[in-house]
Symmetry: C2
Subunit: 204 residues, 2 copies
């Protein structure tokens, strides 16, 4: 079996998966890519000009990227290419190139699916119970008009629908990952330790 | 959080989850209960005579238990109680009593669901890719008229339908377990090590 070069972390909102991914990357001394970094890389590389122009037509007064990345829930289409499809195309190509470039941790972005043909990925899913996640999002992001449970339900639904649409898979199925961990039961530090160890990658 | 006393191992057919469960129990020096042992306990304790008599009426010439346990796919019902319902009822009560009695490993039997109200359970799901499982069942159980892939598909479907019917949950969803492991990627020994460690239980 090929040595692990890339760790993908998929996670439920509020599970601490993002923090876990960052800590794993820190311990291994490799970069950690999440939504912001993928966006930045797409901007810096002036990614895919044809797509940029095409999408630009339909987002006057906004940068193509801000529009594309901010429109995850749009169902409108532009010449058959919805904003979500546009985002997906960018994401797909940025992640594919990142994976070629260097060992890294990738958080979210359906990386488990996009890189599924590679045998050097270690795919992790982090989840936790509703009460545990509710506690965590209030602690990290504060209260809002909506109950934390409602905020979780909304996010869960969006991720589930998005993932199903683009991958054809069910969000959260154990079979899509090499390891799934309940961060509420195990604790953040223990999850980090187990992922680092199971990946077989060397600590820095 | 309560200390772990019980480890439940749910597993895909051919994933090695049964072997893993036995090895975990061995390392912890605690009993391991699977289908055969649950059946034996039900027999020894002369479990639930009313149910036995009722089911017995519909299974002439066969012991009530052999009939009930061998009829997982039956959809026939007896006075509103199908053979599957009968099995479920026995299983539910045997497992509930076992969990009270002593620390143990329980393999299969929807124990993750049946014992879900307890906070001293550590619930594990073991899975592996189709090629890995196909290799394993041929190695362990030999060839049959059916392709190993077909045998896997049949078993997967049965477990999925049974689990859904009695628990209302989707089989294989990460959220139902504290830890899910791909035994093909990680290897049997590594899975055992990780489960023992994550459970926090003391080795014998």
């Amino acid at each position: 079996m090929a040595e692990t070069r890339i760790i993908t972390i998929s996670r439920e909102f509020g599970s601490g998966g993002h923090t876990i991914g960052q800590m794993v990357a820190e311990q291994l001394g490799i970069p950690c890519y999440d939504k912001e970094l993928v966006k930045q890389i797409a901007t810096e590389t002036g990614f895919d000009e044809n797509y940029i122009e095409e999408a630009g037509e339909h987002a006057p007064g906004k940068s193509w990227l801000a529009y594309a990345l901010g429109a995850q829930n749009s169902t409108s289409s532009t010449k058959g290419l919805s904003m979500n499809d546009f985002l997906w195309t960018i994401q797909y190509r940025v992640l594919t190139e990142l994976a070629e470039k260097e060992p890294c941790v990738i958080i979210g972005r359906c990386a488990d699916y996009i890189l599924k043909e590679r045998d050097d990925c270690f795919d992790v899913f982090v989840h936790a119970s509703i009460p545990e996640r509710a506690r965590r999002i209030v602690e990290r992001f504060g209260e809002t008009d909506q109950s934390p449970e409602k905020r979780l339900a909304d996010k869960d639904k969006k991720r589930k629908v998005f993932y199903k649409h683009y991958t054809g898979r069910e969000w959260g199925m154990a079979q899509n990952y090499h390891m799934c961990l309940d961060s509420g039961k195990l604790g953040i530090d223990e999850c980090v330790r187990m992922i680092v160890e199971a990946s077989g990658m060397k600590k820095k």
